[in-house]
């Protein structure tokens, strides 16, 4: 069914129509939250909160990109959650090996998705490195980088999602890319050969 029809029906109180919209966008909302929060549990909470907030305020949606509207709610929830976790740093819940005293790796890392072990570890390490570089950014820069470079939004939609002028999106994105690029230079050994930067290649 057409998205705009679903939105209209959901605005009239049709829960099934709203849930179809949830199914359409839950992966993008969850992934934005995951990248923003860098924590799957928190991302789960934020995503749920986002859809509840969306349902509550559905009548305030006045057209435009529904994805941008949803991601704006999600990013605002992420900012709130980041502020909250900054005030109350959460304790790492990963189990500790009683013999070695070292932290046992996140079970997600141990799942088998068909890749060769070396490739899997390498790609996980690379993903982790990129995520660390993203985590170093301020929340507003982070959100724009994820929306444009990870989720493939154009500037106009990102501007709607971030509730920021296009010019600001442009400058923030350039700065965010610059910082991530500099950060990734510290993980050269993890980067595929064609992505390795020469010395002085970054600005």
């Amino acid at each position: 069914m057409d998205e705009s029809v679903l939105i209209q029906q959901a605005q009239k109180g049709d829960l099934d129509a709203f849930n179809q919209l949830v199914m359409l966008y839950q992966t993008q909302v969850y992934n934005l939250s995951c990248r923003m929060m860098s924590d799957t549990m928190l991302a789960d909470d934020v995503t749920q909160e986002t859809f509840i907030n969306a349902y509550q305020h559905l009548k305030s949606f006045r057209g435009g990109s529904f994805r941008a509207w949803l991601l704006r709610i999600a990013s605002n929830n992420c900012y709130d959650e980041l502020r909250r976790t900054k005030r109350k740093p959460a304790q790492d819940l990963n189990p500790v090996d009683p013999d070695s005293g070292e932290e046992v790796e996140d079970p997600v890392w141990l799942t088998d998705d068909g890749e060769l072990p070396e490739d899997f570890v390498h790609s996980r390490e690379l993903e982790d490195a990129i995520q660390r570089c993203i985590d170093q950014l301020q929340a507003q820069f982070k959100a724009i980088l994820i929306m444009v470079d990870v989720q493939g939004m154009d500037y106009k939609e990102a501007s709607q999602a971030a509730d920021t002028p296009v010019g600001t999106i442009r400058s923030r994105l350039a700065r965010a890319r610059d910082r991530v690029q500099r950060c990734l230079q510290g993980f050269t050994e993890l980067l595929p050969a064609k992505y390795r930067l020469k010395d002085g290649n970054a600005r």
Partner: protein
Amino acid sequence: MKETMHLTKTQWQLLSAYLDGEVSEEERAQVDTLLASHSQAAEALQALRNTKSLLRMLPQRPVPHNFILTRQEAMVARPGWLVKGLRVLSGVSAAALTALLAFDLFLPMRAAPQPAMLESMAAEEAPLESAAAPLAQEAPEVESMAAPDEEVPIEPFYFEPAPIARGMGGGGGSPSDEPGGIPGIILPDISIKVGGTYSGDSAADQTNEEELTADAEIAAPKDSMNTGPILGVAPPENRGDIIEKNIPRVLPHQTSTVEVRWPSYLLIEVTLLAISLVSALVAIILHRRRRAAR
């Protein structure tokens, strides 16, 4: 031959937008020129492209579960009219309390008992009392002579009409002028009748003066006014005699007006504070219950 250079912030932004195809035609031409003339710019663009590709390589994580809302969650998610109403009530009462406190704080300062102000206020209601006020200020010792066990609001006074200066001192004035004036000062011919109104008419004033004298039982002999030690000025003991009578005074009455309003204000303020706090507290508790129910 291409030159080596460091990119400025603007050039970097331009390259970044160029990579995304988010530049105008003019900017595109500008970047093309830059890329053609500076090797550093071409390398920077390639580095930007690599970074973007790496970020695009990040895998989409699968959702751990569907985030669809159940009927129960949807009901809970609906805006609670009670919570909303309580929030509004709390806000409104807090605003009203603030306004009342501000009113309470600043208004008494503006309406602080200013003698001149009170006199003018009194003049609007009772011209007689207005005329009496300056005389009362001139003789505070007379006021203090009032018996302390008498009722405070009923502390009226009569007075001898102010001596009329007719220039008798120093040889001024004509023989027809009434003696007892202050040299060099000509005061308006004012006489006051208790409970009546001021009249500018001299003949009527004369009558009123006589009535006043009779009513108030002023013992001062009129002759003594003419035989003052200094050129006809009446001796101090014969001037400004104050006789008690049941006329409410202006000053205590005006001052007590503000004080009488105070307890009712306090009651309203306390009530508003209680409403604001209780409604806010209940709204918070209900909101938390809703969140916990999710």
